[in-house]
């Protein structure tokens, strides 16, 4: 038997007895970042494929959520900092070895890009509201007036609209980096065995794309678009399940620290939350519902969409929480 105690009474707040440095802010950001990446990826992809009028929600309307999601996510990150008013130090250096530095710079590019992309579709959004949702239009008319009041802004928007193709390519590329980065951020920490797996990058990317597709599916009023994104989602769910199984296979075949990590999900404290909230409610159940939809049964679309978003959020909350509970033996 081996007993190990800290006799000097080390009780550093948030370090002992269990590491708890990151709270709700980080998973919130990871979720919103992934969601933004998902929406941007599909917007860019279908624009390049010339389907902007076939998939209007994906290309034109859903991207309006990206700056909102990124804004809220960045605010969450800001709240997480304990030395807040030094945040600008992030932009005084580029550290290639630090994923967080990468992330800060990626967000610096992605956020304005998403705002410009949305601006180029502002007129269409208001026209769409005017036709279909006069109530919303009535309340937001003043925004339209403000945006299109100045010639400079009008010229900027029409200029940007001509560069949509370039923006779409950059968006696809940056969305993939942003999506992977939300996972790599965690997997760079070799001190936390649960995070220290390179599968986390692709897993979070796929999960982000899946939540993005779910939002588009939810927003869309067009049955062709809905069906198409429902099918994309079904495929992404399959890939996600495959990656989760591989993650655990990797852990079980690895060193003792990683076996212990896997045990937290295979009988340990996170078993119920992970397998019920993430795998069953967030992946299997919406997968079944979408499969039924595919087979011709009509179900309210918000149910699978909500479940996928819920599952995506839970995946990040649990991974951040459990990662801090996993540690080296010594």
């Amino acid at each position: 038997m081996k007993e190990e105690i800290i006799v000097s009474g080390r009780m550093n707040p948030n370090i002992d007895p269990v590491l708890h440095v990151w709270h709700w802010e980080i998973p919130t950001y990871l979720f919103l970042g992934g969601l933004a990446a998902g929406i941007m990826f599909f917007a860019g992809l279908f624009y390049i494929q010339g389907k902007e009028n076939k998939f209007r929600s994906a290309v034109k309307f859903a991207p309006f959520l990206v700056p909102v999601a990124l804004g809220l996510g960045l605010f969450a990150l800001f709240l997480d900092l304990t030395h807040k008013w030094y945040f600008w130090q992030l932009y005084t250096t580029i550290k290639l070895e630090s994923p967080m530095s990468w992330g800060a710079w990626v967000l610096m590019i992605v956020t304005p890009l998403s705002i410009i992309w949305s601006l180029t579709y502002t007129q269409e959004l208001f026209d769409h509201w005017k036709m279909n949702y006069p109530k919303i239009y009535k309340r937001t008319k003043w925004v339209e007036k403000v945006i299109f009041k100045y010639k400079l802004i009008r010229n900027f928007i029409s200029g940007a609209a001509q560069q949509r193709k370039t923006m779409a390519w950059v968006m696809i590329f940056m969305a993939i980096i942003l999506g992977i980065y939300t996972g790599i951020l965690l997997s760079a920490f070799n001190a936390r065995p649960l995070w220290n797996t390179s599968i986390l990058g692709p897993l979070f990317l796929v999960s982000g794309l899946s939540t993005g597709a779910a939002i588009i599916m939810w927003l869309s009023k067009d049955s062709v678009e809905r069906k198409y994104f429902s099918r994309i989602d079904l495929m992404l769910i399959g890939i996600e399940l495959f990656l989760i199984i591989h993650m655990f296979m990797g852990f079980m075949a690895s060193t003792q620290v990683q076996i212990d990590t896997a045990q937290m999900f295979l009988g340990g404290e996170f078993t119920l939350t992970f397998w019920v909230f993430v795998v069953f409610m967030g992946l299997v159940l919406p997968g079944i519902l979408e499969f039924l939809e595919f087979k011709g049964y009509h179900l309210p679309v918000f149910i699978p969409a909500f479940l996928i978003l819920f599952g995506g959020a839970m995946l990040r909350i649990i991974m951040v929480e459990a990662g801090q509970a996993s540690r080296y033996l010594y």
Partner: protein, 177 residues
Amino acid sequence: MRYAMAIDTKKCVGCSDCVVACQTEHNVPIGYCRDWVVEVTDGTYPVLELENRSERCNHCENSPCVRCCPTGASHYSEGGIVLVTKHECIGCGACIQSCPYDARYTHPEGYVDKCTFCNDRVGKGMQPACVAVCPTKCMYFGDLDNPNSEISKILALRKHKTLIPEAGTQPHVYFLI
């Protein structure tokens, strides 16, 4: 120059004087500590083995905390001492997550803090506070690159280990066993 520390687990009695000396020297806020003492009891009564270890930041040669820091606040200083520049630290917590030894904590003022190997004292040619105060003289500090330093001699003489070498961090705190 490569500064390192060695702690004789056979001589350490676990009195925690090093902890108090550090807290006093650096005005460590109440309830926090930069170093701590671990007591490991191994075996079944009556065959028991005891190991006392005074632990702190390992000032690793391959520091995950320096690698993860997005602003460069965590950096290698002279002699391989790992330091945090207060006014560059944004308190993101990446370094805390990256340390396998849990040697870092968030100072109540917001920045991340940890053992500095008493770089200010060392710069003046003195020993770190914990080493200087140790009543059993079980701690050694010095330059690994100098074969005549106390630490080089003791490490050449005695069997020693580092903590979690499998994490690949190449720690600079050695434990004589």
